[in-house]
């Protein structure tokens, strides 16, 4: 989950992007088949991401609700209060989500300057809490406010997708982190985030990509490939713009679809 990585803003496009319209005006039969299959990819990507962002919406609502209830009782939010989120977090682990939780803004909690209420799935079935040294003076890693999954929501971006990146601190897996801001009465409390292994995301979207009759790749806004139907660009490689390819943003998500135009 914790990374330097590619925070991407909604509806922005990678370097070398051309307006989507140039990619979708062709009228031949092949292009019609492409258009149908591309619509299938966009729907699949949207559904997959939506599943995660819906879970994050739940975490956000529950966290803000907890913070409001505690404040009503006239005291400050503490790390123990966040334990109430656990049944909700556990319920979201296992399908596509490998880790999920709330990351507190530094100084939010009365009893811990830095805190993650973060849970990961575990092969044995019982979720495991990620416990790390969160004191930046003694840990080389855990000032989480640098990471783009944190800075994106903190700066007001509604939907952030970080990665793909090697998540060397939580799971050692090639992962995506999706995150949203948690606020109460307009004040930023922290971030609700979830980890998705790239291989699981691919399992969800590659079948749809395979139906596209031209080379097609899903990229983040920096051009890092998330999934594709071609060995020329696989997850982890970078699309830096190429002749004969067109880029269209995926509506509502910080991702784009790159397709061969056959020209």
């Amino acid at each position: 989950m914790i990374t330097r990585s590619d925070t991407v803003l909604s509806d922005s496009a990678p370097p070398g992007a051309r307006p989507a319209a140039t990619a979708v005006t062709a009228t031949s039969a092949t292009s019609a088949a492409t258009a149908v299959s591309v619509a299938g990819v966009l729907a699949r990507v949207r559904d997959t991401a939506e599943e995660v962002f819906t879970a994050l919406g739940d975490v956000r609502a529950a966290t803000a609700g907890r913070a409001r209830a505690v404040r009503r009782n006239g005291r400050g939010l503490a790390s123990d209060d966040l334990a109430a989120l656990r049944p909700l977090l556990f319920g979201h682990l296992g399908a596509i989500i490998a880790g999920i939780g709330f990351i507190a803004a530094p100084g939010l909690l009365a009893d811990a300057p830095w805190y993650l209420e973060w849970w990961q799935e575990n092969p044995t079935g019982t979720p495991v809490q990620l416990l790390r040294d969160l004191d930046p003076s003694s840990s080389a890693f855990y000032d989480y406010t640098h990471w783009d999954w944190y800075t994106g929501p903190e700066s007001g971006v509604e939907r952030t997708i970080c990665g793909p990146y090697v998540d060397y601190l939580c799971t050692d897996e090639y992962s995506l982190t999706l995150s949203v801001p948690v606020t109460l009465d307009g004040v930023f409390l922290g971030v609700a985030a979830a980890d998705v292994f790239v291989r699981r995301f691919q399992a969800a979207v590659v079948p749809a990509l395979r139906d596209v009759p031209v080379p097609a790749l899903l990229v983040n806004t920096q051009g890092r490939v998330v999934a594709s139907n071609t060995a020329r660009w696989i997850a982890g490689s970078v699309y830096r713009g190429a002749e004969g390819f067109a880029v269209r943003p995926v509506p509502g998500l910080p991702l784009s679809l790159v397709e061969g135009t056959g020209r």
């Binding site: 990374t3 990585s5 003694s138 060397y168 050692d172 970078v238």
Partner: protein
Amino acid sequence: MAVSVARLAVFSPVDSTARVDLVVRRLTDAIALGLVADGEQLPSEVELAGRLGVSTVTVREALMALRQQGLVETRRGRGGGSFARAPSEFDMTERLGALAVDELRDLGDHYAAIAGAAARLAAQRSLPSDIAPLWRSLDEMAAAESSAHLRRLDGRFHIEVAAASQSARLTREEIRLQADIGPLLWLSREDLEGHDETAAQHRAIAEAIGAGDADRARTLAERHVLDATDHLIELRLRLRE
């Protein structure tokens, strides 16, 4: 033939004592070098076992050994757990004496191969957002005031380089090799060339990766490991048995 040899390896007995020793060695190095700070709480036995890929019994035995060495203190009750206790000094001689020259060479070769491959791929695949953390680590190293902090940042820098390769396997190997030989290499560099030269090598690696110069990044990363390994071997050869 190849198959039967492979099967022999598969069914050879797993040495549980060696596993305990390995866990002890890793945690000893981490505590001795301040990677785990004095007084810091260690993860639970279950989490340690999961992270290290060993059984909780192995972890428990290793913690017992560390308690006997005074490197870990266990408190019971609420707020209890195992806590690191920093020793006065890291005993490099003892640590180095435990490794034969050919083991050192082999560890160095393995580490250089991993570090070199990771740096090459990082140069090919990284985006500006992968390079930024490298420079942040180097800036923090330049400002670091304690040796333990510097060592932690050094580890972080090399893991960030590996992660920039986009290879989870290479990153895992980098982490594993850092645990196995990183502390010795670090002390060797301090002894050999001091922090300024090490910092210059780090900057050169980061620059080559940032410039997308794959061959140069690989050569520099390999040299960074091999020079320190050579010096370690020199030291080892001079040790009295």
